[in-house]
């Protein structure tokens, strides 16, 4: 259980920006430890995206619950929140002062570039796991690919309302998949 706490403290510390950044970090930690399979992790992200609340916290809660029930959910979420809380509340003054400093801004330049690579990793893993079917002779399910294209177009026009696109995705999934 301490491991659970530490893993999510680490993820919380390095989730700079929105929750999308948390996904590859949690994915690698959780799947490599065998806490969840990649497939379980992906359906969890799908659920976390379609429920209210910041996605990172949703995923943390879910993984914690799967491991140790309600107590696990509380511990994982607590761990996820703790680093930001301590740093922000304790070091706001320092942050303000050094945000523009050469050293700190150089750190962030590289961390942000690395994060792009990491989100790319999550993207490729989720895409392969979802779209490539070893049990089908053609490997791909054409209905899924068409739906993916349609949803991408819908998303492009409804970027400001991702929740709406998720609902559309769920409905189209129920009809066609």
């Amino acid at each position: 259980m301490i491991e659970l706490l530490l893993v999510f403290m680490y993820v919380g510390l390095f989730t700079i920006g929105g929750g999308m950044v948390a996904i590859p970090l949690i994915q690698q930690e959780v799947v490599a430890r065998g806490w969840l399979t990649l497939e379980e992790f992906i359906s969890m992200v799908a659920i976390a995206e379609s429920t209210p609340g910041p996605i990172g916290i949703n995923v943390a809660t879910y993984v914690g619950f799967e491991k140790f029930g309600v107590l696990g959910a509380v511990i994982a979420t607590f761990g996820f929140v703790l680093p930001s809380f301590l740093i922000i509340s304790g070091l706001t003054g320092l942050l303000r002062k050094y945000r523009q400093s050469l050293l700190v801004s150089s750190w962030f330049t590289y961390i942000k570039a690395a994060i792009i690579g990491l989100i790319g990793y999550a993207f490729v893993q989720v895409a392969i796991e979802t779209l490539v079917h070893d049990d089908l002779p053609t490997m791909f399910n054409w209905k899924e690919l068409v739906l993916l294209g349609v949803l991408a177009i819908i998303f492009y026009f409804l970027r400001k309302k991702p929740i709406l696109v998720i609902i559309i995705g769920a409905i189209l999934g129920m009809i066609f998949l």
């Binding site: 919380g12 390095f14 700079i16 916290i57 930001s84 922000i88 570039a113 993207f123 989720v126 769920a170």
Partner: protein
């Protein structure tokens, strides 16, 4: 999410719009998720430590309750064909969300070819060689420190 925070907090007169803009800027560059960072800052502003703790608790509580509830029944729910199909549809949207996140964050973060290369190398390290993300991020600190050192030396020599 930021528009909602703005509406709720500024209209209540808890903080001014300028202060909130400053908080958002700090939140974006500080470790941790933006939502939690903003909640901590606004809470601190209003009622010091207690305020920060209460505000963060407030952000976390709905997720904690809703997700725990869903997690309890998920195993049974996924057995239902319709739910499984809906989840598949949502997963397709997740793929799209990730792709757009890469483009959106990338536009801001990738300022030159060198950083693009660095992003690709980070990807390769994790994807092909299973290197822990911890190491990739630590490497970023090393590179950042190096860059800062080189830049500051260059300034001195001029």
């Amino acid at each position: 999410m930021i528009p909602i925070i703005k509406r709720e907090i500024v209209s209540r007169g808890w903080i001014s719009e300028d202060e909130l803009t400053d908080y958002i800027a700090v939140s974006q560059t500080a470790p941790g998720m933006i939502a939690i960072n903003i909640a901590t800052l606004v809470g601190m502003h209003l009622k010091k430590w207690k305020g920060a703790a209460v505000a963060v608790f407030g952000v976390v509580l709905p997720s904690l309750v809703i997700i725990t509830f869903i997690a309890m029944f998920l195993r049974e729910l996924v057995e239902i064909q319709l739910v499984a199909s809906a989840l598949k549809g949502i997963t397709l949207v997740v793929i799209i969300l990730l792709a757009f996140a890469i483009v959106d964050i990338g536009k801001k973060a990738i300022k030159n070819v060198f950083l693009l290369g660095y992003a690709l190398i980070s990807f390769a390290m994790v994807f092909f060689f299973d290197i822990p993300t911890t190491l990739v991020l630590l490497l970023s600190f090393v590179f950042g420190t190096l860059q800062a050192w080189i830049l500051s030396r260059r300034k001195v020599s001029k």
